[in-house]
């Protein structure tokens, strides 16, 4: 989180107009969340948006560890999954009668579960930071995942544990049978959790967690135990991860061991990092992007996970601030009202990118068909039929890809020069 560069009144008296202005983003978000189903009303859209809501809470909870406190965890899915499992069991009445809690309050079950395990596991994980912490979370994650075949009553083995959200008592007449109602439930919880996690960054613990990330030694000499700060943040983060798990349980009415797996932990790391760890909005963007790509790409191609991996590596190497970081790079331009001047340059950049992507996708497509021992098969690519074994086709694809890369590099250096100019030159001196 960048430092607060705001000159604030020393006392806390604010006018109503100020309050509205400060919360305008939140009010707008609430409005958007409420009206989305009216715009995108198909079943798929609602399911996707519900999943996005769940993942937003999950990623935001993860970024409390990674972006705020500098803790890289490889086992965060444990709290998500366990929260979900306790929830389905609670909804099923733990084998007895169904619980008498209305559905909207159910996510608390997941939250408390996450908190509980966060306290237990966090007490041993947070003594050290860095690679040591990463290793312990990996070990704990694998430990829990390996324990799942041993406890089929709790984890349900291959089929998992299923439940029915309509069996719970009605909430003002609502039984949440439809996806629309479930969406609103998730959206409400997502909004509240995001607001709470944002508020957390403005509290002493939230502030000191950032200090611990930047300079843990200094915090010790300011009276804080860095390990305790990490522990408390870990607990809060696990609470929200558990809430996300609960929402998933409610949404899918099914919980499987995939939710505590290393793959799930890897996914939330991917989402959060690609979205951007240095800004609060980063994980939100990352969750939306990844869920969107997952549903969109998996229809197009089988190799979508490969593209994710490549995207992740590209972000690590070239854009460690993630999507949010890239967007915020434009802040100086926005402040100087010069954003529109860089847009033509970006537009031109689309050409080499398109060339490169076409070439790469062609290569990948042909390679896949070829390796499936079908060298006589043809690939339909952009309306043109190419023979998968045809060297000309390969040559063309390679040419396109390298042309894209080369042109892209040339143009990119030009764009970055203009970018720096626009961002830092005083208003009057930039030539027209």
């Amino acid at each position: 989180m960048s430092s607060e560069a705001r000159t604030e009144a020393l006392t806390s008296q604010v006018s109503t107009a100020d309050t509205v202005k400060r919360y305008s983003v939140w009010i707008a978000t609430a409005a958007i969340l409420t009206s989305l189903p009216a715009i995108l009303s198909s079943g798929t859209a609602l399911t996707t948006m519900s999943l996005m809501g769940i993942m937003i809470v999950f990623s935001l909870s993860y970024n409390m560890l990674l972006g705020q406190t500098g803790l890289l965890s490889f086992g965060h899915a444990v709290y998500y999954g366990l929260g979900g499992f306790f929830t389905v069991h609670a909804m099923n009445g733990f084998g007895g009668k169904a619980l008498a809690i209305p559905l909207p309050l159910i996510p608390f079950v997941g939250g408390v579960t996450g908190l509980m395990f966060g306290i237990i596991f966090g007490s041993v994980s947070t003594r050290r930071a860095g690679t040591s912490f990463a290793m312990i979370t990996l070990g704990l994650g694998e430990l829990v995942a390996s324990a799942s075949p041993i406890l089929p009553t709790f984890f349900g083995g291959e089929e998992g544990i299923s439940t029915n959200r309509t069996t719970l008592p009605a909430f003002f007449g609502l039984r949440f049978g439809s996806q629309l109602e479930t969406y609103y439930l998730i959206a409400a919880w997502c909004f509240v959790c995001a607001a709470l996690m944002f508020a957390f960054t403005r509290t002493p613990l939230g502030r000191m967690s950032m200090a611990v990330r930047i300079n843990p030694e200094r915090t010790e000499f300011n009276g804080y135990s860095a390990a305790m700060v990490r522990f408390f943040v870990f607990c809060v983060s696990s609470f929200f991860a558990g809430v996300a798990g609960s929402l998933a349980a409610v949404n899918f009415e099914l919980m499987t061991v995939a939710s505590i797996s290393a793959r799930q932990s890897g996914t939330v790391l991917l989402m959060t990092f690609v979205g951007g760890v240095e800004h609060f909005i980063g994980p939100i963007l990352g969750a939306i992007l990844v869920v969107f790509l997952q549903s969109f790409l998996s229809d197009l191609t089988d190799a979508w996970m490969l593209y994710f991996g490549l995207l992740f590596v590209a972000v690590v190497v070239f854009a460690p601030g993630g999507l949010a970081g890239l967007i915020m790079l434009h802040a100086p331009l926005v402040r100087r009202s010069r954003l529109h001047r860089i847009i033509p340059y970006y537009a031109v950049m689309l050409l080499p990118i398109a060339l490169g992507l076409v070439g790469a996708a062609g290569l990948v497509g042909m390679a896949r068909i070829l390796w499936a021992n079908n060298s006589n098969a043809t690939v339909h690519f952009l309306g043109v039929e190419c023979h998968a074994g045809n060297p000309l086709a390969w040559g063309a694809a390679v040419l396109l890809m390298f042309a894209g890369l080369w042109l892209g590099r040339l143009w990119a250096s030009r764009v970055s020069k203009v970018f720096v100019l626009l961002g830092h030159e005083p208003p009057k001196q930039v030539g027209r």
Binding site: T131, M135, I136, G139, S146, M305, V313, A367, W371
Partner: protein, 316 residues
């Protein structure tokens, strides 16, 4: 019973040596460069698949030499053009890079060779029984693996203790900054160490492929155990990795062969068995199923109580 014990011991040592082949590379990379190579098991997998492919074309013995070289070369190239760019941003960024790399490698392997296991067979030349002990026969290929791993261990030992390069590497194991300040070409050493480490992993893959199943998930099943071995043995310690590998190899192999459960043990002293629920699960699980948990338990306990591991010189 004795038969089982002997077989398990042999297999446990074998598994342990396999782990050591991998762990030695990983611990070298970690200790010299500070990078925890998340993709180490992926290079192992690449070695297995390349070994399979090359042995289809030119036979196993060619594959034995060519595949590790290819994998090592790839590792060196990745270090030079990928990892190095991230190096200056700290260990967290390097860890993330290798994490992404692991995903990419696994997906590429799946894309090229498919999701099902490939038919990587023991070469005909080694497909016989080496010896017989108490009625059990032991395959020659396994003996070959054992000898190969031992050979590598000795080679590593001599390189590390007798050569100049080995001296530099050993110094870097415990004092990496000092080594660079003494004027050694650290980037080149890094590239060499990373490449060699990956090459070792590839070699392990070529040899283990016919034994364990060669499939895309092999990296994910072995990967976490590797980290356990490295942390357990201690950083900066190749001998530590050796002891840890053997220990975990033996423990896991023996655990898998024990069919007793807690319930069996307690029934022996007259305690009744619960009929359902989570307690029943705990009571009736055989030790064999608890086997996979043990390494992770060790990892967590080591990191809590003895972060330097068995023989480590540095903390993680």
């Amino acid at each position: 019973m004795l038969q089982l014990a002997i077989l398990s011991t042999l297999n446990g040592i074998l598994y342990g040596m396999l782990l050591f082949l991998l762990a030695s590379g990983l611990t070298l990379i970690f200790s010299v460069m500070g990078v925890l190579n998340f993709a180490h098991a992926s290079f192992y997998m690449l070695g297995a698949y390349l070994g399979f492919q090359i042995s289809q074309l030119a036979g196993f013995w060619v594959a034995l030499v060519a595949a590790p070289l290819l994998v090592g070369g790839l590792g060196a190239a990745i270090e030079r053009w990928g990892l190095r760019a991230v190096h200056k941003r700290g260990h967290g960024a390097e860890l993330l890079f290798t994490f992404g790399l692991a995903i990419v490698i696994e997906e590429l392997v799946q894309m090229v060779w498919g999701k099902l296991p490939v038919d990587y067979r023991v070469p005909a030349a080694l497909n016989f029984h080496a010896f017989e002990v108490l009625g059990i026969t032991y395959p020659a290929f396994r003996v070959f693996m054992l000898l190969m791993a031992l050979g590598i261990f000795l080679l590593l030992f001599f390189v590390l203790t007798r050569s100049r390069l080995g001296l530099i590497i050993r110094a870097a194991l415990t004092h990496p900054e000092m080594v660079s300040m003494l004027g050694h070409d650290v980037p080149k050493v890094f590239m060499l160490v990373f490449g060699a480490g990956c090459g070792l992993a590839g070699l392990a893959g070529v040899v283990a492929g016919p034994l364990l199943v060669t499939q895309p998930s092999m990296a994910n099943t072995l990967g976490p155990i590797l980290f356990v071995v490295v942390v357990f043995g201690g950083l900066g310690s190749v001998p530590g990795a050796f002891i840890a590998s053997l220990t975990i190899g033996l423990v896991q192999t023996f655990a898998v062969s024990i069919d007793y459960s807690l319930g069996d043990a307690l029934a022996g002293i007259g305690v009744g068995r619960p009929t359902d629920g989570v307690l029943r699960d705990i009571y009736s699980v055989p030790v064999a199923q608890v086997g996979p948990l043990i390494p992770y338990l060790i990892l967590v306990l080591v990191l809590i109580f003895r972060p330097t591991g068995l023989m480590g010189a540095r903390e993680t």
